[in-house]
Subunit: 325 residues, 2 copies
C-alpha cells in the first residue's frame, strides 16, 4: 500500500533525476475560468509526461540484482517512454510490449531511449501471453502502469511539489484537478496532499465515454468503460480504475469531472497561446474542466495538472487550426 512515507522515499530517489516542474499561469486563463488557474506542467517532465516519475521510482526501488536482469512493461505510449528512460539511466535492460498500431512517434521514441520494443497485433495476439513468455524466460520484473505501489509513490511526488508550490502562491484551499486514466497519478497526488496540504483536494477528470473513475466514485464500486478507443485523449483511456488506486481515490478525492473531446482540444490550443506549453489532448482534460466547467468547482483558485505533451504534430496542427485563432 502506498502512503506518504513511500512517496517521500520516492522523492528522495528521484532527487536530481526527475524535474521539478513549474506552476504556470496566465491572466487570460484566469479570466476564462473566473478564478486563478495554476497549472502544474508535467508535460515538461523528462520524456514529456509524469510517467517518468513512476518509472524511475519503480526501477530504482528494485534490488541491484533484480534490476540487472531487466524490466518489462506494457504501454502504447507515455509509460513506455518513462520506463525506457528510467531503465536506461539505471543501466537495466527494458522490454516494452506495444501494440503495432501505437503512434509511430511513441514507438520510435521508446526504441531511441534504448528499450527493446516488441510489437503485437491487438486483434490477433494475446499481449499478456507474449509478455509472460518473454518476462519469465529472461527473469524480467513487470512495471505496471498504475496499479503498483512504487509507481503510485513516484507519481505522488508531483503532489509533494504541488503542496509546496501552492503554499508559495498563497493557495491553501482549492481543488486539484488531475487528468485520470487508471488513477496512479491521481491517487499518488491525493495521498501526498492528505499529508502535506490537507486543504487541497484531488479530483479526477476524464473524457466523455471513458469516465470509469468518475462513475465509480459516484456509485462507490468499480465501473467499467464500454470501449477502449474512440477518443482523441488516447493517453488516459483505461478500462476501469485500479484495484490499488480505487480505494485511495474513494477515500480521498472529491467528485470527478467529465469533459468532451472538443473541450480537451480547445484547452490544448489555449495552453499553446497562453502558457506556451505543448499538451496532448489526454493531458489537457483537467485544464478543460477548469476553463469550461467552472460551475462545478469552488473557491478563488484551482490547481490543474497538465499530465503530458506527447502529441503528434498533425493532431496539434489540427487543434490550432480549429481553435488557435
Amino acid at each position: 500500500m502506498s502512503n506518504l512515507e513511500m512517496i517521500e522515499a520516492a522523492a528522495e530517489r528521484l532527487q536530481g533525476h526527475a524535474r521539478w516542474t513549474p506552476l504556470l499561469s496566465s491572466p487570460f486563463l484566469d479570466e476564462i475560468a473566473g478564478r486563478r488557474v495554476l497549472v502544474k506542467a508535467e508535460c515538461l517532465q523528462h520524456t514529456g509526461s509524469f510517467k517518468f516519475r513512476g518509472g524511475w521510482s519503480a526501477v530504482s526501488a528494485l534490488s541491484a540484482e533484480t534490476r540487472a536482469r531487466g524490466v518489462i512493461a506494457f504501454s502504447s505510449g507515455n509509460h513506455a517512454q518513462g520506463v525506457a528512460l528510467a531503465a536506461r539511466q539505471h543501466h537495466a535492460p527494458a522490454v516494452i510490449i506495444m501494440p503495432s498500431d501505437a503512434p509511430r512517434m511513441k514507438i520510435d521514441n521508446t526504441r531511441a531511449l534504448g528499450a527493446e520494443v516488441v510489437l503485437y497485433d491487438r486483434a490477433t495476439e494475446d499481449r499478456d501471453a507474449i509478455g509472460d513468455r518473454i518476462g519469465i524466460e529472461r527473469g524480467l520484473t513487470l512495471i505496471k502502469p498504475f496499479d503498483e505501489p512504487q509507481v503510485i509513490a513516484g507519481q505522488g511526488t508531483t503532489g509533494l511539489e504541488i503542496a509546496r508550490q501552492a503554499a508559495e502562491e498563497g493557495v491553501t484551499h482549492s481543488d486539484v484537478l488531475v487528468c485520470c486514466g487508471g488513477g496512479g497519478l491521481t491517487s499518488g497526488i491525493a495521498l501526498a496532499l492528505e499529508g502535506r496540504a490537507p486543504g487541497l483536494r484531488a479530483r479526477p477528470v476524464e473524457p466523455q465515454g471513458f469516465d470509469d473513475v468518475v462513475r465509480s466514485l459516484a456509485s462507490g464500486g468499480i465501473e467499467r468503460n464500454n470501449g477502449m478507443s474512440g477518443s482523441v485523449c488516447d493517453a488516459i483511456l483505461t478500462p476501469e480504475p485500479g484495484r490499488i488506486t480505487f480505494p485511495i481515490l474513494k477515500r480521498l478525492c472529491g467528485p470527478g469531472l467529465v469533459v468532451s473531446d472538443d473541450e480537451a482540444v480547445r484547452a490544448v490550443a489555449l495552453a499553446f497561446a497562453r502558457l506556451k506549453i505543448v499538451v496532448e489532448p489526454g493531458g489537457a482534460v483537467a485544464l478543460a474542466a477548469a476553463l469550461f466547467h467552472a460551475d462545478q468547482i469552488e473557491g478563488d483558485a484551482v490547481i490543474v495538472v497538465v499530465t503530458g505533451g506527447n502529441v503528434d504534430a498533425g493532431v496539434f496542427r489540427d487543434a490550432l487550426a480549429r481553435f488557435g485563432g
Copy 2:
C-alpha cells in the same frame, strides 16, 4: 551603467513576480548537437518572453510619484506586453505605441493587459513624434526596450538563474547562446555570468541578414543592418546594437553566431517535439545554433536561452507542417 549590483537589486524586486524558468533538456537534442544542450525556457516567463523581467525592473525602479503618472513604450510585440503587465501590476497607466501592422494577437494582448495602445502607420507617421507628444503631455516615463540600465538589469536576472542552474547540473564551463536583438538580454546575462559564473560565456545569436551585433563584435565598431523586415524572426530585428549594450557585449561576449530562417523554424519544430514548449522563430535562433552549428561551439555542454513564445498559430502550424514529422 548596469552592473552586477543592479542586477542583484533587480532580482530582489522581481522576487515573487517574475517566474524562475526551468532549464530543460532532451537526450534527442543532445544527440543532434553532439553535446549536452540545456535550454533556459524564457518562453514560460509571464507574457511569454523575458521582456517581462526588464519591464518589471524598470517600472519598479521608478519613484512612486513618477510611476503614478505612468509609462510609455514603443514596441511591436514582446516588450509591449512585458511593460503592459508590469505597469498594471504596479497600478500605473501604460501607453504603448505600436505599428498598425504589428501582429493582431500582440496588439490584442497588450490591450487586454490594460495598456492604452496607440497605433501609427509606419509609412506615413513619425513614431517618435507621436510618443514625444503623448509622453510630454501626460508626464509619462519612457521605458526603452534595451538601451536602458534598469531594463538590462532586469534581463540580467536570467543570467543569475542560469549561473545557479548550470552549477546544479555540474556545468561550470560552457557557452551560453542568447537570441539577440538590441542586446539587452545578452548584455545583462553577460554581466551576471561575469560575476557569478565566470566559466560561462555569453554569445549572441542572430538571423541571417540581421546580424548587426555579430558583425559589430567582429569589426569592433557598431555595424547596422540594411533593413528591418524580411525575416520570420520578427522579435529580434533591430537596426543596430545599443549604445549602452554594445560596450558590454564587446567586453564580455564570445563571437556571435548566425543561423538561417529555416534553421530557426526547424528549431521551433524540435522544441515542440522534444521539449514540449512553444517557441517563436526569433526565440529559437540560439537553439538552432546549438543544434545546427555545433562546430562553432566548444565543450561538452552548451546552454541556450529560448527567449519567447509569442508566435501566431498559423506560423507555428507551418513550422510543424514543414519540419514536425
